[in-house]
Symmetry: none
Subunit: 133 residues, 2 copies
């Protein structure tokens, strides 16, 4: 039930795997592949849907729309946090051991299982903090 292996599917997967952006939207993929490979928008959405269903890709909603991230078959090894600057809008990718302990702490002490891929912390980045006062 995995479906066919098509050129378009591989292109989308490649884009997800090789992107260095912190967040990839369907629009990003569609725009790029339309230009370079003439892939249709609908195909991008339909393939992403399948990949999410198969657990190959994770989908999460962010303010400007849904984002997709390749996670492979391995499951939920993604332990990074997102910090979004309320002033300049920068999205910062953070990975550190203190933060990795956060999820387990909340689960153990508060009975709540945090989904890091859906969580964004808001505030002010260094530049905006120093610049704006």
């Amino acid at each position: 039930m995995t479906g066919y292996k098509t050129r378009q599917r591989e292109l989308i997967l490649d884009y997800l795997k090789n992107s260095d952006k912190p967040h990839v939207t369907a629009g990003d993929i569609a725009a790029h592949l339309r230009e370079t490979e003439n892939v249709g928008t609908a195909t991008v959405y339909r393939q992403l849907d399948k990949m999410v269903t198969d657990g190959l890709v994770r989908k999460y909603s962010l303010d400007g729309g849904a984002c997709y991230q390749y996670v492979g078959g391995g499951g939920d090894c993604h332990e990074h946090f997102h910090l979004k600057c309320l002033n300049c809008g920068a999205l910062i990718h953070v990975d550190c051991e203190f933060l990795s302990g956060l999820g387990p702490h909340i689960l153990e002490h508060h009975g709540f299982q945090v989904d890091n891929s859906r969580t964004v912390m808001y505030g002010l980045c260094r530049k905006c903090r120093e610049g704006a006062k």
Copy 2:
């Protein structure tokens, strides 16, 4: 700076306060208030924006669009964390020392100043985690 007190604003606030839905979208509010009170869609969005800016209402993105939740003006929400259950919609207020160390850690190690009053962590609450098994 707070803006005028209008009939529409009060209606929106009332809807948010009295709704028993787990998630309230701008569309929910707009549809209801258009029918019963002839309030325009744009007004709903504009008022919600202001309420979010004022810290009176919390906004979070979910798959079908953005959702809004009344949290009141009590400034004490700056001091603790919020956990939002993606399943039942419960908003849990958490206050503990481990979490209190989170802000300082991020500020010191990552140069980012987290605004707790605007940050919500998503996941599953205890009830929904157990129920889903």
